[in-house]
Assembly symmetry: D2
Homo-oligomer: 305 residues x 4
């Protein structure tokens, strides 16, 4: 397995020296301060061996990547009923489109577009006593990383500028698909997105989607095997906004990106990999992150297909 | 001119006895309590003669009809600059569509769809010290009706259920086309829409769009003649949501409807007419109101065409 | 009435010397050969006095302006039944949008967008033995201009490049709203659009929409007074694609434009005016034509509002 | 491997006795004559063992399933250049939507929606001397089934009623993304869709996507391994119109459906399975086909995730 160290280092160097394209997300003001030169990769195998290169041990804002975690917890609570509130189809439209939501009468296309993630937050608010604390505890438990934290500054920054998400949440509420108070749901949503992790931590927290019989430190299953496969399927078809087809095509693994420049991807029964490079392409996905994963999976002939 | 009394009475009776179609607006809970059998008409000529029939002297919630008044005041303040903030094109879509706003990058199609009226409210909030009071004063002055009032209950009712409008306002703000605080703008918007008038009052307050050299009690012009014509033009092309073409086609006059069931229409240099019947057709316009006006304008061969 | 000669000359000179904006239509290859400097105006009063300036006596391709004539003839044949096939609402979308047609299940928004005009052609094909000849005869009769002709070259040029219109016609047929053979309908459509007239002729042929009791040379009415008003209403709300609101707002008259650079406008009971300047703005309407009419109606305070 | 025979028989019986939902495709008149009770399954393993049940040996119209084959041949000819003509993103819209094509300026979202498949046909027309014959030869070669045939009646039936596809093709040509004559391209398209196969044949012809080093009878590779994986990826994200996410979620395999009621699915390195049941759900995919595959993959815990 030590081949992974060599390969990620080789591909890291190759991609590091390629010209940067894209730009750092600036619609959350606080994110604009991140050094665009950051570039880190970490891979964790199902044997829990971990290999990193570059800035793999630096914290960054994982943003939409946490949507996998909130979906997992909501799915655990609700089972199949969750799909009455949100669909599992690729959106074919930019990530914060209101258009489609209108046509679909307030049922978001999937849990990874903002609209869907907000509905998932609403579901969690209905189930959790202290949504922010309880969700963080869930993340700590499944990752066995007790130091996970939200970034207060990022949460506040997004809150102060997140008019589009306020619009989305009120719009969905007008269709009756938000049950709790809009402010409470959005407060949770903004905090959830502000979770900070390193590549190393990211590639560890998603092992539960990689390993068939994964159990937490306490010996508990997170979700069933069938639920695991279904989340992987949604990641493949919907994990990259309107570039999901492209990622499946070029990389061939289920994955999820965040506007902080992070991407995680999973080869079932093999490994989980996390990449971080803040500059985003026009579709909102990490430019070098996608490039790295394309080259890495080609080199290792990793693909679910 | 007394012919008008006879004609409105005749057409009133004819339409009153026709079967009611449509239903009372219920998305503002308070409006759902209105008796659907109300039916009133009032016409005021440029000589200020007034003729009424039925419930012409009962107050009702004029709702979107006030959007003509807010536009007038904003146009007076800003002149042509106002059209940088809002367009003058028919929308071709339902009145609260977010879809088109997305395509148009936050510039509403016209000042009469909700999105446009909210932007106009934002403009007024920038100009007025006490928006609600000052706007009411403006309405009193141009109508010479000192008793005009908002309906507190209706305003609160819409506020409590107006998620779609909160969504719209935040969405537009995300494009930078709302300058003031969203809550302040919407509070003003909901109050503005809750203005109550009778048909008699409505047909009086819009004389300023009917009479070329109209001056208020204080001897002041409201807006210029050219501005007057332009507001009439917008009423004709945009006054009835996605049924504006139909109204122009069947009635042939500039007009504006509200979800309270009121309609005003103007024959320049002749009269202003107001009709009220609460049941709305599927496009959100008063069913009997449109029917009355079609028959009335046919009978009087009133048409701007 | 001779004041008109002076005014159109003054405004002509003023606008002629202003910088040209926009560009000549090039999607019909043959139209691209027209000299962009052509600029003509003609006004014909209800007393049939005619005043022209510039290139008012040169033939050009009137294109969409003929859609008023085909609508008139179809309305004459079908009466109100025509509105089962085509609506009377502004489209709010570019003139050849398939999007809206899809949402509306094959019923075009109005008879002036391409989709609607093609349906009208289909109606005429059902009624006329020799559509092209019979329609031309109708035009000759109402205008009393026996020399009217199609431009074969333009018709063939559009036919050879009109994939979008072939798409539209087949698309509508898939919804069942085209009854005849697609090729026959489109052949008629392309010829109809290729009709050539001068400004002088244009301002004469539309007198039947201007004069209340208009009769042809043979002493026959074209359509009823009520039908006339309704066509004027559709021109006002739908005559300029997605710039109809703007034209109503700036010019204040019912009118219709064509991609050949022509515009006709009507002041009921007063006059019909035709302008020609080939360069089109981004919405597909004659740049100087709109400018001229705005200045002309301001100067003469002509407006239906 | 013989377990497969037992499992498909068990699931066949279970699903056969469930109530039929959906209806047989009727927009191609000829397809409406098919007996809705047909139900067949066939699985072929990478060892070329074949197991069938029910109507697995009856010919039916594979329709859109051939789009995998035409894409394969075009990809073989053009390599990566093919993606300049067609994208690889899920459409998020019904399978014959013109709306999205308009927004995307004539570049279809993916090669499996009708628009994309028509562009692929255009590419093949540019490469093949006798498109229909040459394509059939390609199909015969990779499947080693020399008896494959088009169904003339089905091809003619679709041709006579395929206005929507004529519209699509002309619309794309108006953007310049069809290079050949519209009639030639569509003739090929209609024939290609009329190809007839049995479940047994279908599960055999797609072995080239299942087996890593697949070679034809002549010992030739069809496409490279990397190209194979990419076609599988597109099948997963785009194979079921706007129900692709649902199929990935419920079945977890790359697959493709046709309106004839057939579905093929692939478990890389294991097997190819084909199901046929003519009644379609509202999204246009075989109702019992999807049901069967969901139960079958659950029972065998087959999934790429």
């Amino acid at each position: 397995m030590e081949k992974y160290q060599k390969i990620i280092e080789d591909v890291y160097l190759e991609v590091k020296n390629m010209p940067q394209s894209g730009k750092v997300a600036n619609y959350i003001p606080e994110l604009a301060f991140v050094d665009p030169e950051n570039f880190g990769i970490n891979i964790t195998t199902i044997d829990k061996e971990s290999f990193g290169v570059g800035d793999f041990d630096k914290k960054f804002s994982v943003q939409s990547i946490t949507k996998i975690l909130s979906l997992t917890l909501a799915y655990k609570f609700e089972g199949v009923k969750i799909w009455d509130r949100v669909d599992v189809e690729p959106s074919g439209n930019p990530f914060n489109s209101l258009l489609q939501l209108e046509a679909d009468l307030g049922k978001p296309r999937n849990p990874f577009i903002n609209a869907g993630a907000i509905v998932i937050c609403d579901v969690l608010v209905s189930h959790l006593k202290n949504p922010k604390e309880d969700f963080l505890d869930f993340c700590k438990e499944i990752s066995n990383i007790p130091t996970l934290q939200y970034n207060e500054k990022v949460a506040q920054s997004e809150k102060a500028s997140g008019y589009r998400n306020v619009a989305l949440c009120n719009f969905i509420k007008s269709f009756g698909n938000i049950k709790n108070d809009v402010d409470v749901v959005l407060d949770f949503y903004f905090y959830m997105c502000s979770l900070e992790m390193t590549c190393k931590e990211l590639s560890k927290i998603f092992l539960f989607l990689t390993i068939d019989n994964f159990t937490t430190q306490k010996g508990e299953r997170v979700i069933t095997e069938s639920q695991t496969k279904r989340i992987n399927a949604i990641m493949l078809t919907c994990g990259f906004y309107d570039e999901s087809g492209e990622f499946a095509f070029r990389v061939g693994l289920p994955g999820k990106s965040g506007v902080g420049g992070g991407i995680v991807a999973i080869l079932p029964d093999k490994y989980c990999i996390a990449v971080w490079s803040p500059k985003l392409n026009v579709k909102g996905n990490s430019y070098k992150g996608m490039l790295f994963l394309e080259k890495f999976t080609s080199k290792t002939t990793s693909s679910i297909f």
